[in-house]
Symmetry: C2
Subunit: 732 residues, 2 copies
Amino acid sequence: MRPLARLASLRSPVAGQAFKSTLSTRAVASRTSWTPAPIPRISSTSLRSFSLSTSHHRFQVYVKKQNTKMTSTATTLKGQPLDKGALESMLRRRMFFAPSFDIYGGVAGLYDYGPPGCALQANIIDIWRKHFVLEEDMLEVDCTALTPHDVLKTSGHVDKFADWMCKDPKNGDILRADHFVEDVLEARLKGDKEARGQKVEDKEEDPKRKKKKAKGTEAVKLEDAVVKEYEEILAQIDNYNGEQLGELIKKYDLKNPATGVQPEPPVAFNLMFQTAIGPSGNLAGYMRPETAQGQFLNFAKLLEYNAGNMPFASASIGKSYRNEIAPRGGLLRVREFLMAEIEHFVDPAGHKKHERFHEVADIELALLDRNVQLSGQTTVTKMTIGEAVKQKIVDNETLGYFLARIHLFLKKIGVDQSKIRFRQHMGNEMAHYACDCWDAELLTSSGWVECVGCADRSAYDLTVHAKKTGAPLVVRETLETPEIVEKWEPEINSKKFGPTFRKDAKTVEAAILALPQEELAKLAEELKTNGKIVVDVPGVGDGKVEVSKDLVAIEWKKHTINIREYTPNVIEPSFGIGRILYSLLEHNYWVREGDEARGVISFPPAVAPVKVLIVPISSKAEFAPHVRRLSQKLRSVGISSRVDDSSASIGRRYARNDELGTPFGLTIDFQTLQDGTFTLRERDSTRQVRAEEEKIVDAIKALVEGSKTWQDVESELPIFEGQELEIRPAEN
Amino acid sequence: MRPLARLASLRSPVAGQAFKSTLSTRAVASRTSWTPAPIPRISSTSLRSFSLSTSHHRFQVYVKKQNTKMTSTATTLKGQPLDKGALESMLRRRMFFAPSFDIYGGVAGLYDYGPPGCALQANIIDIWRKHFVLEEDMLEVDCTALTPHDVLKTSGHVDKFADWMCKDPKNGDILRADHFVEDVLEARLKGDKEARGQKVEDKEEDPKRKKKKAKGTEAVKLEDAVVKEYEEILAQIDNYNGEQLGELIKKYDLKNPATGVQPEPPVAFNLMFQTAIGPSGNLAGYMRPETAQGQFLNFAKLLEYNAGNMPFASASIGKSYRNEIAPRGGLLRVREFLMAEIEHFVDPAGHKKHERFHEVADIELALLDRNVQLSGQTTVTKMTIGEAVKQKIVDNETLGYFLARIHLFLKKIGVDQSKIRFRQHMGNEMAHYACDCWDAELLTSSGWVECVGCADRSAYDLTVHAKKTGAPLVVRETLETPEIVEKWEPEINSKKFGPTFRKDAKTVEAAILALPQEELAKLAEELKTNGKIVVDVPGVGDGKVEVSKDLVAIEWKKHTINIREYTPNVIEPSFGIGRILYSLLEHNYWVREGDEARGVISFPPAVAPVKVLIVPISSKAEFAPHVRRLSQKLRSVGISSRVDDSSASIGRRYARNDELGTPFGLTIDFQTLQDGTFTLRERDSTRQVRAEEEKIVDAIKALVEGSKTWQDVESELPIFEGQELEIRPAEN
């Protein structure tokens, strides 16, 4: 599998405008202290950071280019080297996921979840909903994915949510420009190494890609200076815009290995799936690229639903769509994916304090702040979130609160604690309006993967939609101590004003009402002295209009302001559920010592697709009633089970379910028929206890709910030894 | 609100081919015994019955045209006349749902669910998943909504999933042809009534539509014969194809009231949202119009996942998309909607028995079978499903099992038992391959609404996809008693055959292997007698090829067949979640006696968006710890609550939550501060009990889980009387 560090994320228009200076800053950094970090990263859950650069718009990557030549150093849950091929083959065999439309040849970037993947996803979502929505009384909404053009025009997606692509003039292939440049230069560097007789590290890749790339690899020695140039380009491949990528293609005469010709210059390709709504074809629409917009558009209704109380959060779980040019990386980069997003609306005036911050202040996070990154390091600092906010490393309490809550959520679903870090966006990665932004990244065989973004987006989104539509997306707050305001106020005598100025009346009135305070003060004086004033009204007469005192009065007036109106800021935690799900699979996978074919996924019971495997030791009819009763009983206490009454040995049946991550096994054996006792097996230790039905069911319930550990159960119920002997390596 | 009886459903190609005869059958029926039924119907959850008729394809309606002139006779849960306007205003005020993109002017047929709608939907889905997926060990999958063209071409949607539309040449308006004809004729009949001085019944409609239609209504008297003609056309409006609708428009010179001109002839409009997948734009795709196809395509993998065992069912919950020409009817006809579909795969050889049928055999359903409908009646028959299958009214046990299970599901979520019926499709409504099909219809203010379809689709879907792709979408079953087959078999001597016939060898071999048994028998004899045979091989030499016995042998051979291969049939229950949700709102709505402004939605606790309202009687600081502790405690036992600590009176706060359907209210009052007791209020009766915290929480838990009724609780805990007095009509 090739490293995916340069998978794109989105950037803000203004971050994009700062693009050139950013680029040069980085170039300097890389020549001095900045060194490539050892592990690549995948970004792009965050949907918001797109950039504008030169005349074309660019969907730009914000990662530092890191070493892409490394082989995977990923490990299993037990610290064994991760055999990604074995894991993926197991995941497909057990139908965690499968390419969509497989029998029709499939479509890149589209995957279906099979039964265990689907249950795993449902459990993650269920925990997410409890952890965030219910725990914090968030207002969950379900908005449509179909979105009309105007909405995404306002949000900036229509103009800027794009990648650069090149067309091969010979065969019409569409290449993603940055990937193309990178692939060809990497192939040349590889050829150079071969020519120099150096060992070329084999990257894990899917065979199709390898074959295609192999075409371009020839053992040709390059000059040392050229090698250095190529390496420098690769180190900052994510920072080139379309024009610059086009220049590189020309300068180095980069050719598509498939055809041997140079592709056409890069053009911007919008990543949204477009469609037409309604029969006329006139209403352009898109499949939403994120779930956030629906929440912003409903802001006023949600505020009203919340009885006007601030702060509050909305939340949404739903599919989003991105028409990737050439998806790679399995579940990590797909064209249709499940997101869970929260928009926490907060008054910017209160320093974004959070009333429950004290509950999480002592939680320790692994932080990779922007200063460390700017110094070329990737060393994380373990620090309590309380300390991080105090030191201003994290901008404010609300943002800090959500980082800690995200951490707790990831921990709860079983993410490996040693494989989480929170990475802060650097200044040039962030949207201009954003105050601060952190990604929760999970370490996988593809490097650090951005799985959750958490940004303080200020008042940007509500402001642009309010401006476009005129809808008052604001909070009106009754002031405890009313504010007194005194100012000059012109007052028009409507009765006379209209007849006097006729068709120009509105224009003249508007000009007067728009006058600044200092001008009004002057004119009030003039009106008193001369009984008339002269006002500049471009377009009316000669641009000067005389207004007499019977038509207008200008007075110093006192106002009591009881209402404060403001646009809330928004803190946005945004979860890529598919990426979290895939990372979870890798984090919980391991193989039984001494038998590499025996994979296990040690899901915590709460997320495990199925909680209990029921295994009758024999297919004799006497066993059937026990199986039915147990299933029924477990179901009635809300625990999912599956029966395996196949003729395979008990050991083989357990091994099959270890691969599915089923935490508990319930065996019905001949002793059951005599005394009504069952054995309960724990997946990870393969240890067993034996007891009567009620005790066993109670134990399972406590284990699944998390109120007891397996150690507790072993201390309460008699240990059973025997059957597990049947699991011999030879059987698997 | 206008009746929606003619909202379209889909029909099979062959049902469409039988279209003309069907039409005439109906015409006869309507002239003799068939009388319009009193209540209109809405169909179209079932995605599968599209029809082909004449040269154009048509997305055809299968309902008998019924009386569309009636006013709503809908009633509330308590039998009061339903004030639909009041209900809808309440639902919007409480944000059950809202038009999507409202601040941008909205898009017809797109709705967002607000917090209570979203929670209601999540609860319905949760119960659905437990009731179907977990209870029956179904294999749930989550497939992409993006679907490539080829898949939907094979399924028939590309060619036949269409409606007829007309364009207005003057203003470019697109009109749905059947609706247009209907609207104009209805307006003329209304004008006629006015001219005759008859009372015109006012239909409930949204004001916009009314205004538009009013334009076309002029008080012009028609001849009696014309009135009769119009009425006959309206009675069968759903049965006209595009050409016929075009003829009606010409014949009666129907003009668009908005422009005064006749629209162009109807053309077919495909109802799928089209898009392009990938950057080249060459891979056409659609947003799926149903979730079923993904399940069919994964059949082979699912069968393997299920260890080859039959029968089994897959299930899927997800959004589907239909580009309606002119959506009307709120949540009942939308362009993006949530479906839940089951595909139960069964061996057709076993008479489609179901092993759990005995569990449901005694359940009584309200059936409206096809014979009753053909006789022009809509009288339902109450009958146990056991009896219905026995009498062959319902085709088979598996179909019957699911009808009963659907009934139990609808009952569980709180559908009014007096407002469900199961209506059988008539022969001409069904796809040619379908054996039987029943819709669960719910009675609403828009008439009988098709909310669940349940069809026996035979082997159609798997067969067409297997034929198109070559994938073996079959079950291979080891026969218990192997079958012995004896037959003539030619055996080619490959070593000599190639050199003898050279380039023609393959062709000659194929010709021999394709020979029928009787021919082979004859040739075997010939080979024995003459030592050679002459075979017809068109295109080789003169079309006759001589083959000697050293090149081929033909022998009578015995084979033992151990494997039986078959394509499973599929029973498909298909749920339109949005329609069920809307019907549920109507079924559970009522108003408190004596105060029409006090709406209540009596959701069963399991589906209620929020289970408990926590109401501190005062905003004093002493109350806060109680509020926090109670919320926390309820959450820990999995029960969602909401706090209303506003300054409104207790009565007003309860009234607000009655509208949200919150079943229980927990009041913290001054007595709580002294003795730690709380009052618990039941929404429907407004009765209260008072007890200490633990007893109250236990009672709530039992009530929500359904293990106790309110009567049980009243018999166990002391009745409390007092606070409810605060709810005075004047306060609301």
